[in-house]
């Protein structure tokens, strides 16, 4: 029973949160926007962290600026553009569709198309190769009778 309870309680986890910074926003919508943006904006100093994740000075500056702009009721697009104006496209995790970034969208589609194409192509090819002629039919009958006869003989041998 003790072990049963022990195992049962292992199934439960309690969430533990460590909050370093606490901000109060006027409404739920602003808080949500800040959360969204701090996950979507990239720290310019660190290679692969968003500004929520990073403790770099510049990441803190970006967070503070986002808070300031969110509290002024600026839209998401406005804030993202504001950051891109200063830190370039690097700062946003969603790159815009331009001639040089188009490859990011086109290559996966081409990959899938190429994969499907090759499957269809190979299937067609093998379907063509498997033509069944009268000659093949005759060959098959011949082989069947031959091995049937063999098996009959084997059984007789075993029976002896």
């Amino acid at each position: 029973m003790k072990y049963f309870l022990f195992i049962l309680f292992m199934g439960f986890t309690t969430a533990v949160f460590a909050v370093e910074e606490h901000h109060t926003f006027a409404n739920e919508k602003q808080a949500e926007l800040f959360k969204q943006l701090s996950l979507e904006l990239r720290c310019p100093k660190c290679q692969n962290q968003n500004i929520a994740d990073s403790n770099a000075v510049v990441a803190k500056d970006l967070r503070d600026k986002v808070i300031e702009l969110v509290k002024l009721n600026k839209s998401k697009d406005f804030i993202v553009d504001y950051m891109i104006d200063r830190y370039g496209y690097f700062v946003h995790y969603k790159p815009p569709v331009t001639a040089s970034t188009l490859v990011l969208w086109v290559v996966p589609i081409l990959f899938v198309l190429f994969g499907f194409g090759s499957v269809v192509f190979r299937q067609k090819k093998s379907a063509i190769q498997q033509k069944w002629s009268d000659k093949d039919e005759a060959q098959l009958t011949k082989l069947i009778t031959k091995y049937q006869d063999n098996s009959v003989e084997e059984k007789q041998e075993l029976g002896q």
Partner: protein, 198 residues
């Protein structure tokens, strides 16, 4: 039979081509610098600012003071070891006639914790450091809250901007400036603007 032959050649060639393209892409990646950052301000005018001088009391600088000359803005701080390496080279550039304006980036100060900023202690520190390395700066702009740095898209120090006489930002370089980066990146544009050989 010949068409089958052609197909098998194709089946061989297509993956090979994809593989080779991937090789070229990854090979190029070996030499790209992920720390190379470009501000979104290239081709735009210097953002408006009005900030105090680092060393002189009651003196301040604004973006209008900078119009009419070609200059470098160098972002630095006494806390930054790479700046210490870069300062003697910048001093050499000044001797060759390049005007350099310092943007002093304070990174430790937090008004919520530190109370009033001790400017005199910083001035002493700056004087000591520049006495050792040489002083490349015409003057230093003191950006305590990193507001101009933020508007310029500065992510750390050292960083250097080249600005023309109309106040338009032409180049942005992250990391130290040395003979090699100066020759490769700055010298062509700079000589073109100044029409002098350096």
């Amino acid at each position: 039979m010949s068409s089958e032959n052609k197909n098998s050649k194709l089946m061989f060639a297509v993956p090979l081509i994809i593989f080779l393209l991937l090789c070229v892409f990854l090979f190029k990646g070996l030499f790209s610098n992920p720390r190379e950052l470009q501000t979104g301000r290239i081709g735009q005018e210097m953002p408006a600012f009005n900030l105090p001088d680092l060393m002189e009391h009651n003196k301040s600088w604004s973006n209008k003071d900078l119009l009419g000359k070609v200059y470098l803005i160098n972002v630095w701080g006494t806390w930054c070891p790479t700046c210490l390496v870069e300062l003697p080279y910048l001093t050499k550039l000044r001797e060759r006639g390049v005007e350099i304006i310092g943007l002093y980036l304070e990174q430790g100060y937090d008004p919520d914790f530190d109370g009033e900023f001790n400017i005199q202690a910083l001035r002493d520190e700056v004087s000591q450091m520049l006495a050792r390395t040489g002083n490349p700066y015409q003057y230093n702009i003191f950006d305590l809250n990193r507001s101009l740095a933020f508007d310029l898209g500065v992510s750390g120090a050292p960083e250097t901007f080249l600005v023309n006489s109309k106040g338009v930002i032409l180049l942005h370089h992250t990391g130290d400036l040395n003979e090699r980066t100066w020759r490769a990146k700055f010298a062509p544009k700079f000589t073109q603007l100044k029409e002098v050989k350096l």
